[in-house]
Amino acid sequence: MSQGTLSAPTAPAAVSPHSTLRRLARRNSTTAFLLTLPLILLVLGLVVYPFLYALYLATLNKRMTKFIGIDNFTFLFSRQTFWDVVLQSVLFAVTAVVVKALIGFILAHVLHALPAKGQRKWRGMLLVPWVIPPAISTLAWWWLFDPSYSAFNWALAGIGVDPVPWLGQAGWARFSVILVNVWYGSPFFMIMYLAALKSVPDQLYEAAAIDGATGWQKLRFVTFPMMRNIISITVLFSLIVTFANFDIVRILTNGGPLDKTHVFATYAFQVGIQSGDIPLGATVSLFMFPLLAIFAIFILRGVNRRTKEMA
C-alpha cells in the first residue's frame, strides 16, 4: 500500500494548514514531482520556451514589426531552394544514420567477439571520434578535403589517380559531409549495440546451437530480435541529432556548391542570422519538427508493439 493511500485525507475541514503541508510532503507523488522539478524546469526553459518563441517568431514579418500569420511558411513552400534543403536534409540524415547503424552493428559484434582482456583498449580507441568536439575534428577533415592542398588528393596522386573535387562538386560534397558525420557518429551506435549484445542471455545461443542454427541464423533469429528495440531507439535518437547537424556542413562547405549541401540548420542560419531575416530562419528550423515527428511516430510505434508482444 502506498504512502499516499495511507495518508489520504479524512476530514479536510479539521486539518490545519501545517498538517496539510506535511501530508502533501509525505506523498510519493509529491516527492517524485519535486525530484523531477529541476528536469521539468530545464525542459520548459530550454525546449518548450524556445520552441514556442520560434513559433511566435515564425509569424512575424522580416523586421519583426508585424504579425503575418503563416506567410513565412507559404513563402518557403514556393521556393525551390527550400525544397532542395528538405531533400538534402532527409538524404543527409537518413543515409548517415543507416550507414552509422550498419558500421556500429558490425563494430559491436567484432568487439563482442574479442577476448575480454583486450576489449577495453579497442573500445576506448573506437570511441575517440565521438569524444572529440565535432568542430575540431571537422576542421581536420577540412584539411584532408582542402580544395587545393587535400591530403587525400596528394595520396591519390601518388598512385596516379586524378584529384577528386571533394567539396567542389555537388555529389562529392554530399558524400564528404555524410562521410564525416558517419565517422563522428558510428561509435555511438557501436557502444549502444555492444551494451545490447551483452544483455542477450547466453542460454538463447546455446539453445539455438542445440537446434543446429548457423551463425547467420543465430544473428537473424536471436541477436536481431533481442536488439530491435535498442536499434530503433538509437536510430531515432541519432536521426534527431543528425537532422539538427550544423557544424559539419557549415565548416566543410557552407552549404555549397550551389546550395547542394545545405541542411535545415545551416540554411536557417544563412537566412536568419546572416541575411537578417530571423522570422524566416525560425520558420526553416521549425520544419525539422514535423519531419522528425513522423519518424518518431513510426519508430516508437514499432517499439511499443514489440514491448507489448514481449509482455
Binding site: N61, K62, R63, T65, F75, S78, R79, Q80, T81, D146, P147, S148, Y149, P165, W166, L167, G168, Q169, A173, T253, N254, G255, G256, P257, L258, D259, F269, Q270, I273, Q274, S275, G276, D277, I278
Partner: protein, 451 residues
C-alpha cells in the same frame, strides 16, 4: 578620561579629520567614474596589434573622461559578431557600443541611436565620405552608425609583380607606382586585359586565385566585376533587372575567365585565395594586404614580389571591392552621451592614423582626406607594396559593395546567398545556359523582395 593625555578638543579634531579622510576615497572613486560606465564590443582585429592599439586609444579616452570602460573584442570568425548583435537586439541589453559589419546597420536601424550630430561634425572637419558608407548606414535620411576605421577594408588586386611581368608582360609597379600618379598602361587596365593576363598565367602554371564560392571574398570581387559591366540584378527601386544584355555579357565573360582559373575555385573559402598566393601557386588574388602580411612572415620570398593595385575597369567604370564596418550605439544604451563622444573620438584623424599604422595599413578610414597616411608609403618589403591599397584619385576607381544599388534589405540577401557567384557557377561549372542562370536568379530575387 583623567590622565590619558588627550583633551576633548584634540579628540574632536582627530575625529573630524578621520571622517574627512575616510570620505576622501569615496569622493575619489566617484570622480574616477564621473562619466559613468560604457560597455564596448569592438571587432576582433585580424592583425593582433590592431587590438592593442584600439585598447590603448579607448582606455586613454576613458581615463581622461572619467568613464569606466568595459571592452570586449568580438570575433567575426563563425559569425560570432552577428550572433552577438542578434542576441543583444532581441534582449535589448548588452553593450552600449558595438562594431556592426557591413549590412547590420540597416537590419537593426530601429534600435540604433541617430548619429547625425556626430557625422555632421566629422564631415565638416574631414570632408566627404565615400557614398557606400551612406548607402549602408544612412536609413531614411538619418545616420544610424558611424563608418568605422578598424576593420574596414578594400579588396584590390594583390599580385606577384614578377610573375605578371614574366608571363603576361604587365609591369604593374610601373602602371601603379607608389606615387601620386598613374603610370603607362594604367588606362588600358581593363577586364579584357585581365582575361589575357589570366590566360597567360594559367598557361604558365600560376593561375589567378579568384574564388567563386559562397564566401565574402568571392562575392566582393564578383560584385565589382558585375558592376564594371553595368550588370545590375536589382535596381535602387528594388525592381529586378537581371534579364539584360549587360548581365548576359558579364556571365559570358565570367565563363571564359573561369576556364583559366583553378578547377576547384567553386569551393574556395576566404582563406583559399590567400594560401594560393602565399604558397607561390597563384599570380593574383583580390584581397586586403593581410595575405601579403602573412607571406612576409611565412614566405618572405613571395612577399617581396607582391604589389597592390586597383582592379580592372569595364564599360561602366572601375570599382574597388570595399567592406566597411560601422560603430553604432544602441538606443537602449544607458550612457549615450559617452558612447557618442567615444565614437567621435575614435573617428578623428589622429586615432585613424594610429589604427592604420598598428594594422600595417589594413584599416581603411572612410574619409577621402585620410588616405595620405605615410604607413601606406613606407610598408614593405617591397616598399610601397600597399601604397595603392586605399583608393587614390589617379586610380579613377570607386569603392563598391557587391549588390549595390539594390535596396539594402534586398542586397543583404543577395550578398549573403552569393547570387552572382552562383550564377557564374551555374554557367561555368554546371554548364547551364546564360538564360537559364538568369531565370534561376530572377526566381531567387523575387523571393528576396518580400518585406
Amino acid at each position: 578620561m583623567e590622565g590619558n593625555g588627550f583633551s576633548r578638543r584634540t579628540v574632536l579634531r582627530a575625529g573630524a579629520l578621520g571622517a574627512v579622510a575616510s570620505a576622501l576615497p569615496l569622493v575619489n572613486v566617484h570622480g574616477q567614474n564621473a562619466g559613468g560606465r560604457l560597455a564596448l564590443g569592438l571587432w576582433d582585429h585580424w592583425v593582433p596589434t590592431g587590438n592593442d592599439a584600439m585598447r590603448k586609444i579607448v582606455m586613454d579616452w576613458g581615463e581622461k573622461n572619467k568613464v569606466q570602460i568595459e571592452l570586449d573584442f568580438i570575433t567575426s570568425v563563425g559569425n560570432k559578431n552577428l550572433l552577438t548583435i542578434a542576441a543583444e537586439s532581441q534582449a535589448k541589453q548588452g553593450h552600449d557600443v558595438l562594431a556592426f559589419p557591413t549590412w547590420e546597420v540597416h537590419a537593426k536601424s530601429d534600435l540604433l541611436e541617430p548619429m547625425d550630430d556626430v557625422m555632421g561634425r566629422l564631415q565638416q572637419k574631414y570632408g566627404d565620405l565615400n557614398p557606400i558608407t551612406e548607402y549602408l548606414a544612412k536609413v531614411q535620411g538619418k545616420w544610424r552608425a558611424v563608418p568605422a576605421i578598424s576593420g574596414s577594408q578594400n579588396k584590390p588586386a594583390l599580385a606577384r609583380f614578377d610573375l605578371l611581368k614574366q608571363h603576361a608582360g604587365l609591369d604593374v609597379r610601373e602602371m601603379y607606382p607608389a606615387a601620386n600618379k598613374a603610370g603607362p598602361g594604367a588606362d588600358n587596365w581593363t577586364w579584357d586585359a585581365f582575361l589575357k593576363a589570366a590566360q597567360a598565367c594559367h598557361k604558365a602554371g600560376v593561375p589567378f586565385g579568384l574564388p567563386v564560392g559562397q564566401f565574402t571574398d568571392a562575392t566582393d570581387w564578383i560584385g565589382s566585376l558585375f558592376h564594371s559591366f553595368g550588370a545590375t540584378l536589382v535596381n535602387e527601386k528594388g525592381d529586378i533587372t537581371a534579364k539584360s544584355d549587360n548581365v548576359r555579357q558579364v556571365l559570358d565573360y565570367a565563363k571564359r575567365l573561369c576556364s583559366v582559373l583553378p578547377g576547384d575555385v567553386f569551393s574556395w573559402d576566404d582563406a583559399s585565395n590567400n594560401r594560393a598566393l602565399i604558397s607561390g601557386k597563384s599570380a593574383l588574388i583580390f584581397n586586403p594586404p593581410s595575405a601579403w602580411a602573412v607571406a612576409k612572415r611565412d614566405a618572405p620570398d613571395v612577399a617581396k614580389e607582391c604589389w597592390s593595385f586597383p582592379p580592372p575597369k569595364g564599360v561602366n567604370g572601375r570599382f574597388t571591392p570595399y567592406l566597411p564596418y560601422f560603430w553604432g550605439l544602441w538606443s537602449f544604451s544607458k550612457n549615450k552621451s559617452a558612447g557618442k563622444a567615444l565614437i567621435e573620438h575614435l573617428s578623428q584623424r589622429e586615432q585613424a592614423q594610429q589604427m592604420v599604422a598598428a594594422s600595417n595599413g589594413y584599416d581603411i578610414p572612410p574619409f577621402g582626406s585620410m588616405t595620405d597616411f605615410d604607413t601606406w608609403e613606407t610598408e614593405g618589403p617591397p616598399k610601397g607594396v600597399v601604397y595603392n591599397y586605399p583608393v587614390r584619385p589617379q586610380h579613377n576607381s570607386k569603392q563598391f559593395i557587391a549588390c549595390n544599388p539594390a535596396p539594402p534589405e534586398i542586397a543583404v540577401q543577395m550578398y549573403n546567398q552569393a547570387i552572382q557567384a552562383k550564377m557564374i557557377a551555374r554557367v561555368s561549372q554546371n554548364g547551364e545556359s546564360v538564360d537559364s542562370a538568369i531565370a534561376w536568379a530572377q526566381n531567387e530575387l523575387e523571393g528576396f523582395q518580400r518585406g
